[in-house]
Symmetry: C2
DNA sequence: ACCTGAACACCGTTCAAGT
DNA sequence: ACCTGAACACCGTTCAAGT
């Protein structure tokens, strides 16, 4: 038996991962929750409040998941494989995509509070990737490592977007294989 | 003095590159054109018709641009630099992005006729990139070359998305530099 | 051939009213 | 504390009516 507020957030996340922030309708969301659309506003006064809460929680969950990986192993290749698997899982879940990736496209129509959480999500990912890259090559230049981490983050997001547009998970795998083969993602 | 239909398409393209297909409003578009929203429907009966026309034209224009590059040089490094510059130009234009990249995210809410044009746009890009990769390495396995072309297309789209989310063109340049340094994009 | 105003069911938001 | 119905200005779409 979940809190109404938690139910709203869980269902809203799934909607945004499929339809974006612009595609999130309070009426549809309310229907899914089983209350009226005006009641959503009791828990989240505006759509901006809901969007910011969703993006913040998304980042917190990502951080927990990624730190969980680091607690289990310090083998860079394993860690990167698990990282890629997280993005694959979104596609497996009815061809959904990273919520903040979708929001990145919607940047111009995002309230400022949502924009800053989307930025924070990217920061969490890049910081974790940089940490893993340092495990693989501790002697590397820190600035170059950070750049490389951002490149991996961006490339995996692009692979997810390309695969989503065709509804083809095999394409995601194929693109990631190329990233590994060319050396963007270290094996 | 442009055709009304052409004016609609030009202004609509700029809107979709900034706000997506979902963010394209007939009322806003009509205001920009200088007619009433009901009049847009005379030229494009439904939003799906307009969206499909936009995506098709976008692909035709891309093909013309890319073939123009090939007519001027057959140096792979130069061609790839020009290809990257096309995506950079969208960001330079008020932080806009590739129209079909945005539409890829909106996949679930796209009419079928628009979806197929988005797919066709990707095909045009991948075919051109594969052609350039063959210039660089004619002996390479054709299947691997095609995979590599798709990886480059996806990665550049991801770089554009990441840079857009921060409104930071320097980040786009930095990510592309990493793609070149790691060997994903051949120099 | 091209445009318009008015209507329809939708959207986020507000608010007075319920329990 | 939590929910609701009704209203507001918005959305794409339709259509009869204008020129």
């Amino acid at each position: 038996m979940l809190d109404t507020r938690e139910t709203i957030m869980t269902l809203a996340r799934a909607i945004v991962q499929a339809h974006g922030y612009q595609g999130l309708s309070f009426r549809d969301l309310a229907k899914a929750v089983g209350i009226k659309s005006a009641s959503i506003h009791y828990h989240f006064p505006t759509k901006a409040d809901l969007g910011a809460a969703l993006a913040r929680r998304y980042g917190e969950d990502a951080r927990a998941t990624l730190d969980g990986f680091l607690a289990e192993t310090s083998d860079p290749a394993t860690l990167l494989r698990r990282y890629v698997a997280v993005f694959r899982r979104a596609l497996e879940n009815d061809n959904r995509m990273c919520m903040c990736g979708f929001m990145a496209a919607e940047h111009d129509d995002l309230p400022e509070a949502v924009k800053s959480e989307v930025r924070a999500f990217a920061d969490i990912n890049v910081a974790w990737l940089a940490q893993v890259l340092r495990l693989a090559d501790p002697a590397a230049d820190p600035t170059a490592t950070e750049k490389r981490a951002f490149a991996i983050f961006a490339a995996i997001g692009g692979a997810q977007l390309a695969a989503r547009s065709r509804g083809d998970i095999a394409l995601f795998d194929s693109i990631v294989e190329s990233y590994c083969a060319t050396g963007l993602i270290p094996a």
